[in-house]
């Protein structure tokens, strides 16, 4: 190309320059991180599926399952019998499993009122519960009381007070403090109920709309917050809480068989773990709660951005790893305490399988979806 003009036409150059600068200025001025950025993927559709078909139904189910526990506790208190105790236990396990589904969504009202911490802080503080019962005057809404309530506290109260069902029932019937025991049982389930009610009420009264409308890509956007909480739950609560801590991963091999979930019932830790992993896999796949239908989810989002890693779809890699986790879990004893004492390597294998998926999601998935674990806004180069 040949430019015959000896001198550059300053004016033209200036016009070209200012035009381009304007383009940049315009394109960066609307880049406020909330409405733009990210791909064309319809995040509203994703959020709607999450809210309407997964999150809210999970809470509805959770609320209903707790209500059954409350009803059964009332019946048990009215007539403390071994048969009634068994009914409480059955409904407690069902509610505990329902909890595994809502533990993923610890944001909004749930985070505000500490649903997760008040429902499932374990190991529970048995001595503290005993003290509360004998002294009275406790306030379960205090942060200091988090380890004296929720499902682990119920576990202690209905499974751990005595070695036989008859001796457990006696605490609620013949014990000198029976009235206090009954009251504590009621207080714990009522507290579970209040929190569940409050969170569901919030979702039903406007939070759903706010949640779906917040469909941008900023750090506080719904997709970002939900995904972060989902991965965090899998990492901290499922991987570490249910497997890593009791199996001694974080204590240099010092094992804690008494730190398993539902320690007093003892033969359901595996059931709870599997439920939690299944809940996570379902959420990842966008599977509607309690239905075989699947909708928009992290899987379809990953497929939309054509996330292929080492020649395979990332969504398939993650989904397969969930299945691998469930396979590793299948090798475990129903009682993790027994498993830890007899053959801890199987616990570690289950931990590793889950850890691998935490890496896939926290690193590969977050990278592919351009979701930051924490907000960073410096220049790149």
């Amino acid at each position: 190309m040949y430019f015959c003009k000896k001198e550059i036409n300053m004016k033209k150059l200036f016009i070209l320059f200012s035009a381009l600068v304007t383009i940049v200025a315009c394109s960066s001025s609307d880049d406020n991180g909330d409405t733009t950025g990210g791909s064309n993927y319809d995040r509203k559709l994703l959020l709607t599926n999450w809210a309407d078909n997964i999150i809210i139904p999970s809470y509805v189910n959770y609320q209903a399952k707790i209500k059954v526990v409350a009803t059964n506790i009332t019946a048990f208190n009215a007539s403390p019998s071994e048969a009634n105790l068994l009914t409480v236990r059955t409904s407690w396990l069902e509610a505990y499993k329902a909890y595994q589904y809502v533990a993923i969504y610890s944001f909004g009202k749930s985070e505000e009122i500490n649903l997760k911490e008040s429902a499932n802080t374990y190991p529970t503080n048995a001595a503290g519960i005993d003290a509360n019962i004998s002294v009275g005057g406790y306030d379960l809404t205090l942060l200091s009381q988090l380890d004296k309530q929720g499902f682990p506290a119920l576990d202690y109260l209905i499974n751990g007070l005595g070695t036989t069902d008859a001796s457990i029932v006696s605490y609620y019937s013949t014990n000198a403090n029976a009235a206090n025991y009954q009251k504590y049982l009621t207080d714990v389930v009522t507290r579970l109920q209040t929190t569940a009610d409050a969170v569901l009420a919030d979702w039903n009264s406007g939070y759903r709309a706010t949640y779906i409308a917040n469909s941008g890509t900023s750090v506080s956007s719904s997709v970002n917050v939900t995904t972060n909480n989902f991965v965090k739950n899998l990492e901290k609560n499922v991987r570490s809480g249910k497997l890593g801590i009791p199996a001694g991963v974080f204590s240099g091999g010092v094992k804690f068989p008494e730190k398993v979930e539902a320690y007093y019932k003892n033969d359901v830790s595996k059931d709870l773990l599997n439920t939690a992993v299944q809940a996570s896999q379902d959420f990842f796949n966008g599977k509607h709660f309690n239905s075989a239908t699947t909708g928009e989810g992290l899987k379809s989002y990953l497929d939309y951005v054509k996330a292929v890693r080492s020649g395979q779809q990332l969504s398939t890699i993650v989904d397969n790893q969930f299945t691998a986790s469930l396979t590793a879990n299948a090798a475990l004893n129903a009682s993790f305490s027994n498993q830890i004492n007899s053959d801890n390597s199987k616990m570690l294998a289950a931990y590793d399988a889950l850890q691998q998926n935490v890496v896939y999601m926290k690193l590969d998935m977050m990278q592919a979806l351009n979701i930051t674990i924490d907000y960073v806004d410096g220049d790149g180069d």
Binding site: L16, S28, G37, N40, S251, L363, Q367, D379, D381
Partner: protein, 452 residues
């Protein structure tokens, strides 16, 4: 012949133009940096800073860090107007380089470029034309300066482009269109070009064009016939990168810097326009005087020194050849080599500190010690990982642990590959030290990236 080259002269207006433009750009960049609150965020708030090997003593100095920025800004202004130029450019070089070296979390190639340019400007008579110094002191005024004064700046700019182009000649960039294949779709909501950015062929087109552009642009700018076309490409290319990626002021610095390739008549025109604003003129500086140099020992020494500096610039980016394994994976010899926007790399690192006596282990919550930005950078760069491990060792030693051992469980994902284990998790990093030697505790990459 070499002697002859050093006896060629050119208009001082070009160098004066560059001095003015460079000074103003630096001033504006510093103001921008400060206005975003980044001084506090990057240099004052963090408890811990990642230092450069050999420059561990360069750290932020609390609230005084603001003063370093203030000095740097004032120096940039003095450079721009050419007032007490030698002191101004020396102060700018020192303060800017100090800032750059305070924390390698914020490492950017263009910061390094600025340090290099300001270092070279220290040896050039950039105040002999259109400057306050030359305005006040007639003895300093010259219309002509040795040609190499301009050529060296062109050469340094050429190195940046050409080496950046060479770095793109690798199989990931050319054959896989990585990392653009990951990055471009993130902009698919842009008007006009948005939908194109999801197309696979566009990723390849951008990759190949980018490589060819970097390799060829300097040649287009060097020849008069293609210069204007080349400059239009420069503007389009950098504006596009500005729209697509968060790369701060770098595009502007490069666009303005390439103006140095134009004829002196252009620079004179710009300067006389500016002079008019101040009801002045550049006639004053067109005194026909030539800043002729007799080849004294001192001048020869200066030329020799600068030649060595240039040779260093040419060779230093190739130091990666001294290291085994994949450069992108180990990053040994990655920085200070004009490798920009080449990788999509992210990591995830969990540290465990172990008491050597009681074997008690603590899993470290990184956010307790690092900012999100630091944690992000640390997770995929081995020198960061080992430096942080030492910090953890020292911290837990103070906390009463016996001879704390530090282990890391880390994973890294690079350019669309599935994440894999990065650092040998059985190595006590507290016992490993940063050095120029190869880090044997980085696990193998298990893949090859061919090319530069």
């Amino acid at each position: 012949m070499i002697q002859n080259y050093f006896k060629q002269y050119t208009s001082a207006a070009t160098l004066a133009f560059y001095r003015l433009a460079f000074g103003l750009m630096m001033l504006l960049s510093l103001i921008r940096f400060a206005s975003y609150g980044w001084i506090k965020k990057f240099y004052i708030s963090p408890d811990f800073h990642f230092t450069y090997y050999g420059f561990e003593w360069i750290k932020p100095i609390g609230s005084y860090t603001y003063i370093v920025f203030l000095i740097c800004g004032a120096a940039a202004l003095f450079v721009a107007i050419g007032y007490k130029y030698k002191w101004a450019i020396l102060t700018f070089f020192l303060s800017f380089t100090y800032i750059e070296l305070m924390d390698k979390t914020t490492y950017l190639n263009h910061y390094y470029f600025i340090s290099i340019i300001s270092f070279v400007l220290l040896f050039l008579p950039a105040n002999c034309y259109f400057s306050v110094d030359a305005y006040k002191n007639e003895k300093l005024r010259f219309a002509k300066i040795p040609s190499w004064n301009i050529d060296i700046l062109k050469l340094l700019l050429a190195i940046v482009y050409f080496y950046a182009g060479l770095a793109k000649l690798n199989s990931d960039w050319l054959i896989e269109a990585m990392p653009l294949k990951i990055w471009l779709p993130n902009n698919s909501n842009l008007p006009l070009i948005g939908s194109l950015l999801n197309q696979n062929w566009v990723h390849y087109a951008f990759s190949w064009t980018g490589a060819i552009y970097d390799l060829g642009i300097v040649f287009l700018l060097l020849y008069k016939r293609t210069r204007l076309f080349g400059f239009i490409l420069v503007v389009v290319f950098h504006i596009l990168t500005k729209i697509l990626f968060p790369i701060g002021v770098f595009p502007y610095v490069m666009i303005i810097s390439t103006l140095i390739f134009f004829d002196a008549s252009f620079h004179k025109k710009v300067l006389s326009h500016i002079a008019k604003i101040f009801s002045s003129s550049i006639i004053l500086f067109e005194n026909g005087k030539v800043k002729a140099k007799n080849f004294s020992m001192a001048y020869k020494a200066k030329l020799a020194f600068i030649s060595c500096f240039v040779a260093f610039q040419l060779l230093f980016p190739f130091r990666y050849l001294c290291y085994p394994n994949e450069l992108f994976w180990t990053e040994e010899g990655f920085r200070f080599s004009w490798r920009a926007m080449l990788m999509e790399k992210a990591g995830y690192a969990t540290f465990t500190v172990k008491d050597a006596l009681s074997k008690k282990e603590i899993v470290v919550n990184n956010s307790r010690f690092l900012t999100p930005f630091q944690e992000k950078q640390m997770a995929f760069q081995p020198d960061f990982i080992v430096e942080y491990a030492h910090y953890l060792h020292d911290y837990y030693l103070q906390q009463g642990l016996t001879d704390p051992e530090v282990y890391v469980e880390s994973y890294v994902a690079l350019n669309g590959r599935l994440s894999q284990k990065y650092i040998d998790s059985k190595i006590n990093l507290a016992k490993e030290n940063e050095s120029f030697k190869h880090k044997t505790w980085i696990l193998p990459f298990n893949d090859t990236i061919k090319g530069f």
